[in-house]
Symmetry: C2
Subunit: 395 residues, 2 copies
């Protein structure tokens, strides 16, 4: 009993966390429930039932399948579904005109052959990367509808054209219910998600660099609690490393979305992919930077101080650049002159660091090993400055 | 017309490439066509049609939806589908016993309420990460079937239990057709895919390090053609950086698969995720390593030679370690003593490199800047040696 209690407690905690982290999840669930209840009116209201009959079930199926989290996903799936049903219906009619020319056995052979060929071809088409990204669902529905109507049409008890017409109209109605609810009740736009996620990733990196700047101040006297702090912010930037799949998916969905908020239809989503890619490159650098804080050694006082100062300055300025870029992106403005100022200052710091490293001579033989990590950190910071500049240029 | 010709040419090229890269794609398409033709027998053969009637269409739908590339995906989806239909049918019967207690309007209200609550709850459940990974499809089918049967049951013209029974049996038959074709005709196992992909990723890194070793020999005299070569192999390791999503998906699918080949049911797939993660970490290091080949400068002859030799040795030995590990993984044997020998030798090289760097003193002030990249390369190689050791330990 105690075990059960503990399990219930754990599930409650997870549920609360899921709901708190993103309350839109709860709203989305409600929306699906609402759409289902609405579509069931097809059965409850006599006049609706009279005109659609059992075809109403197709509206139910459509609502369930199209109830996606983002507007882009619902729209994309819906358009795919409608287009696929239309094409499939057209092809079915063609197939039957051909099949009817033969006798009953010949008809079965012709239908079987066509189902095989069209099924196999469409399945192969789904392997094309471009098609997979945007029309995968549509092809699935196409195969489904085509074989469904063609095969059941063999028995000829139902009128193919009427069946196709019924299915299409109920699908369109189901899709409309889904879309209206999804667009007008607390919509979740894939484009906005992508926009926010790219900006957030920049801010995550900025936050890490900020923490790094603070860390540089006490480079060799790293205390335990600051290490923990660094850990939690390093956790944040790590999610940037694997953001590629998410961003590409969101961009594909966003392409379906109409104009909304500040975003136009055909907003340059590819630009986000590019920005996201550069941010990720920057995150890789930061990842390798992070590794060098494990090395520690003794370095001559003056060298350490100079390096520390320069590194602090560079990382703080880069952090500010990224933060500013993130908020410019959020506000959809061109990078402000503030960004350029930060880049300029970080470049200055970088140049002076370079000159300093060039002019340094070693005093004792033992130092090279201890110095290299710091110089590497400096180099990586320089690379990061480069990337922030690139990100700024593509914003 | 010329433009059309060119487009046709391009499509033909892409198609050929897709088919050549992985002939299993063509076979898979054929298999789907075959499954569809088989399932259409439900309509062609009189005795089958007599017993199933129009329920045969559900078998068609099931076949289309379950025709996935890997056995794991088909099995997982199939089990999800059958379980979901069963649970949904059970719940539907319960709902109707409750709804029948009220009058006709009350019945509609009760059904609407239940559809709302169960639809919303199941949709929310789909946000749980564990459920999303393995049971997402099942929940979708559950919502679909539940609302489908419950809502259409309101009209009471069809017997609910009979409908549920019919649907379930046709779904099971469709799923069986799909599974048999998927398992017995050139099966594609998700587990094997995962296994090969992890091993291949190791080999990609090994290949890169091998190229690096060759590159180190002519560290400062990088010629254009060798840079191109390096580019193509760097392209290969770059795919490792973003392999996380693929590997996790394959592992989720592999969990559904029964014993096959050398793989048992409940094969330690998590181990692959771990190995893949370490390989990816190693790839990050290699990625940052790659950046240092752009810096070039002049270094004292003896220092350069010494470093070059050590780096070559380390990268070649690491490469051999990774290659050996990859082939051990492929053969599913424990890492051989050869691996340990390579690790030992790379560690030796690493130690001697460390001592050499420690003992080096700088002659002129200008050198530090030029030396640091090389020392960093050495450090990164040392890290890579560490990772290869970790990978070896978890194999």
């Amino acid at each position: 009993l105690k075990k059960l209690n503990r399990n219930v407690d754990r599930i409650t905690t997870i549920t609360k966390k899921l709901a708190m982290d993103d309350p839109r999840r709860v709203i989305h669930s409600m929306k699906v429930g609402l759409a289902l209840t609405l579509v069931s009116l097809f059965y409850y209201l006599q006049p609706l039932y009279d005109s659609f009959g059992d075809s109403g079930t197709w509206a139910v199926v459509t609502v369930v399948v199209l109830s996606e989290f983002t507007v882009g996903a619902t729209l994309g799936k819906g358009l795919n579904r409608v287009m696929a049903t239309l094409t499939a219906a057209g092809l079915t009619v063609g197939t039957h005109h051909l099949a009817i020319l033969c006798n009953k056995v010949g008809e079965a052979v012709v239908i079987g052959l066509f189902v095989f060929i069209i099924g196999a071809t469409s399945t192969f088409l789904r392997f094309f990367p471009i098609i997979k990204a945007q029309y995968d669902n549509g092809l699935l529905i196409f195969i489904l509808t085509y074989s469904f109507i063609t095969i059941s049409g063999y028995r000829g008890e139902t009128n193919i054209i009427e069946t196709a017409h019924m299915r299409l109209s109920t699908i369109v109605i189901g899709a409309l219910i889904c879309l209206l609810i999804n667009i007008f009740i607390f919509p979740v736009w894939a484009g906005e998600e992508l926009h926010n996620s790219v900006a957030l990733n920049m801010e995550k990196l900025a936050h890490f660099l900020e923490g790094l700047g603070a860390l540089c101040v006490k480079l060799t006297k790293v205390e335990d609690n600051s290490k923990d702090e660094n850990k939690s912010s390093s956790q944040a930037y790590k999610s940037v490393l694997n953001s590629k799949h998410m961003e590409e998916m969101l961009a594909n969905l966003a392409r379906w979305e109409p104009r909304h908020g500040h975003f136009m239809y055909r907003h340059p989503w590819n630009q986000y992919i590019k920005l996201g890619g550069l941010t990720r490159q920057c995150a890789y650098k930061i990842d390798s930077l992070n590794a060098y804080f494990n090395h520690d050694g003794e370095i001559s006082q003056s060298f350490e101080e100079e390096m520390r100062e320069a590194c602090t300055k560079i990382s703080l300025e880069s952090s500010k650049t990224l933060k500013e870029l993130g908020s410019c992106l959020r506000a959809m403005t061109y990078p402000s002159s503030l960004v350029n100022a930060h880049i300029l200052r970080s470049k200055e710091a970088m140049e002076s660091l370079k000159t300093y490293i060039k002019s340094t001579s070693l005093n004792s033989d033992d130092q090279l090993l201890q110095m290299v990590p710091i110089v590497t950190i400096a180099f990586l910071l320089i690379d990061i400055v480069d990337y922030t500049e690139k990100i700024a240029a593509s914003s």
